[in-house]
Symmetry: C2
Subunit: 149 residues, 2 copies
DNA sequence: GAATCAAGTAACATACAAAGTATCTTGATA
DNA sequence: TATCAAGATACTTTGTATGTTACTTGATTC
């Protein structure tokens, strides 16, 4: 199944936004992502509505981060995307007549609920600033020739 | 994103197969699933190749379970499906030049790896026989009028 | 051995959501 | 007034599970 890359793309974008005071235009961001300015506006809209970024129009406009990297978790970003489906698998029929299928659904629902809770806990733990630390460490390794440029 | 319902469908089918000695034809199974005989053969092929079910052709043919319900876990079924993608989200670019994106990928990979391990552990714990117990309990509740027929 | 049944297989069609694209509007700045 | 950039709308593309048709292979029954 084709995968939803919005969360990963937003992390990438937000980290670049955190590294500069200059507003980034949708076009700039699209170039970073190998994508399209309209797609960028589409995936950024939720973050704007939730107050993590601000967009300004006209000359010198673009997107800015308006919260500190310590204050934004992966869970925040995920929710701003509208909390899309996390799992590639799911029930065939959510409300079947067949009793056997109802038991299958109950088992799957329980499994999915537990996995969702675990994943959301992880998302809540990870702050943008944690990834910034990883970037800094990676830059050091690259400078030391321990990781390809 | 549209979801992969093969795992859930196979559980449903295998439990019905476990309840009878009669072989079930692909057509019978398709009717249970509200699907198509060709789709059934497609999703059952892996289980046949892995020795969990057997298919026989001709008169009186069809699919039979050839392992006990205690001997089949959700993980077995998942693997027989070819271990399809578990998560609906993923990386945008698996091998980026951008250092920031590499850190994003590292973070996401780690999160996904942990969630995969947890989910597979759960899949390994759940046997077909566990769901059979739930079906039995559900039948009792339905007979007592505690759950809709 | 002819008819029938059912799995095996191949090729093609459909559905659907993320992603991509084109075009226009709104608002801000130079 | 021209230009820039977000906002918004409508449409297209893409990839994968699923659905469908048609044909082949193999087994059973009469």
């Amino acid at each position: 199944m084709r995968q939803d890359t919005r969360l990963s793309r937003l992390l990438h974008v937000l980290l670049h936004m955190a590294e500069t005071d200059q507003p980034l235009t949708s076009q700039d961001i699209a170039a970073m992502l190998g994508s399209n300015a309209v797609v960028v506006r589409r995936i950024m809209a939720g973050l704007r509505d939730d107050g993590y970024v601000a967009a300004e129009r006209g000359h010198g406009g673009g997107w800015r981060l308006v919260r500190r990297a310590e204050e934004i978790t992966l869970a925040d970003i995920y929710r701003s995307l509208g909390a899309p489906e996390l799992f590639a698998f799911g029930l065939s029929n959510p409300a079947p007549d067949c009793l056997v299928e109802r038991s299958v659904n109950a088992t799957m629902d329980e499994t999915i609920a537990a996995a969702t809770a675990a994943l959301m806990a992880k998302f809540t733990e990870i702050r943008l600033s944690d990834i910034q630390s990883d970037v800094a460490a990676r830059r050091t390794r690259v400078a030391a020739g321990q990781e390809p440029r």
